[in-house]
């Protein structure tokens, strides 16, 4: 997996890839009402990389994904996707550029059946997976395609939440804790899926609490604390960085 690492291990929190990154986040700030959640987040994600955001609860990982997607009430700074500034765009415009979001709470619609949930996000580009390919990836969904979306098990709902954004043709996937609360066998299946998606050229920004899981799928890890990115650890150096990481995560 080390060959996928594009960033020299400079030790700096923000190490720019050699070429322009697919996603460049600079000085990103976000607020919910009066509370100031992000205080200037900086990081890059290169094309084809799987990158994680690690950090304790409340460090701002989920808010970072939401801010990239444009679903927070107020944000400032810069989010550049494929060379275009997106900080002023509404979330539907950002989605149309080719960014797709799988929220932490999964967001499966109760009034839609499984197939309607799967077909809901519109295609924004060529090159998305076909429905047959998604069913191949998650065979459970095919069997249950006429069930009400929220009647699925937690694991199946997570597969549906990931599956439906693969159809759209988006090249950057924002996955918010896809393994949270799931049985180990399902976590493994989702891990294999992420590796497969990476092989197919998807770029993935992953929020994870479980860094043992993160280590099996990612190229690089950014560590967040108090609404900022404080460190970057290439996956190859994870073992060496373990004491530091334990301190960051407080485990």
């Amino acid at each position: 997996m080390a060959e996928g690492v594009r960033v020299a291990s400079s030790g700096s929190a923000v190490a720019a890839p050699a070429t322009a990154p697919l996603l460049g986040v600079r000085g990103l700030q976000a607020w919910y009402g009066e509370s100031h959640i992000l205080h200037g987040v900086d990081f890059d994600v290169g094309e084809g990389e799987v990158v994680t955001l690690l950090g304790r609860n409340g460090a701002g990982k989920t808010t970072t994904l939401k801010s990239i997607m444009g679903v927070v009430p107020r944000r400032e700074g810069s989010v550049i996707f494929e060379g275009a500034e997106t900080i002023r765009l509404a979330s539907n415009r950002i989605a149309r550029l080719g960014i797709a979001w799988c929220p932490e709470e999964r967001g499966i619609f109760a009034s839609l059946d499984v197939e309607e949930n799967l077909m809901l996000p519109p295609r924004v580009r060529e090159g998305g997976l076909t429905v047959a390919q998604i069913y191949e990836l998650f065979p459970n969904l095919r069997e249950r395609r006429r069930s009400q979306g929220t009647k699925l098990s937690g694991g199946e709902q997570q597969m549906l939440a990931i599956g439906r954004i693969l159809r759209t043709g988006a090249r950057l996937l924002l996955l918010d804790e896809p393994t949270e609360g799931l049985a180990p066998v399902i976590v493994q299946q989702i891990g294999r899926t992420i590796v497969k998606l990476r092989e197919q050229g998807f770029t993935i920004l992953l929020v994870e609490q479980n860094f043992h899981f993160a280590a099996t799928v990612a190229d690089r890890h950014y560590v967040m604390e108090h609404g900022r990115v404080v460190d970057m650890i290439p996956n190859a150096e994870l073992d060496a960085a373990m004491p530091k990481l334990h301190r960051y995560l407080g485990v």
């Binding site: 539907n92 989605a95 149309r96 996000p121 924004v124 759209t168």
Partner: protein, 292 residues
Amino acid sequence: MQALFGQLLVGLINGAFYAMLSLGLAVIFGLLNIINFTHGALYMLGAFCAWYILQSVHIGDFQLGYWSSLIIAPLVVGAFGVLIERTMLKRLYKLDHLYGLLLTFGLALVIQGVFRNEFGSSGLPYDIPPLLAGGFNLGFMFLPLYRGWVVVASLVVCLATWYVIERTKLGSYLRAGTENPALVQAFGINVPLMVTLTFAFGAALAALAGVMAAPIYQVSPMMGADIIIVVFAVVVIGGMGSIMGAIVTGFGLGIVEGLTKYFYPEASTTVIFVIMVIVLMIKPAGLFGKEH
């Protein structure tokens, strides 16, 4: 026997209007979270549009009438709905339900006040279109052709609306948007536009009901205020969340009202509210509503 079927037909007619109006209210409440008190005024505007078209709109020597009103009035009132949503309602979505209710209630009073000032409170006559004048003798009762048309047309409109919302892709956006608009927008759907068009659709549906009502009831500034109170009771009984619930409850309660007129006329104006009280005590979310 004649009288019973006569009252049943009156009940079906009222039910047709209850169904079309409560359907629009339910769709608007679902997506916009606003209890639209202007709905009665929009219904009245539809009837006045039809009246105005019949009085004074010509194309050359051709006098436009009822049939063109069925298209034009919903378009005009739908456009008015766009104006209301874009300039006023849009600012209220993040606030409590109460603000939308107060704004639409005030707006309804203003619209009705302006029309009462202009046209007085007595009704204006609107003739049944010549094509639908007359009726059939069914043996057990006389069926005026226009009333039969209203029941069939409104049933078709209601079922078509149900089909679009529950069975099509467009409807899946609407259902999903009702649950989680932020996520639907993050998938690339222009949700603010969808909200505007939904309000316009509800307004157009109210106007269509108003045009269809014009030859039956008189066209008057307060016609909407009278019916909307009953329609709100219908929505409460049916439950806010359900499209089919609004249709079934609308027709059902119209029929119940008609039957009451035959069997116990004294209770005919209160029976719907009595049912509302009972339903609220037994099943507060309404007959078809989802408990949360």
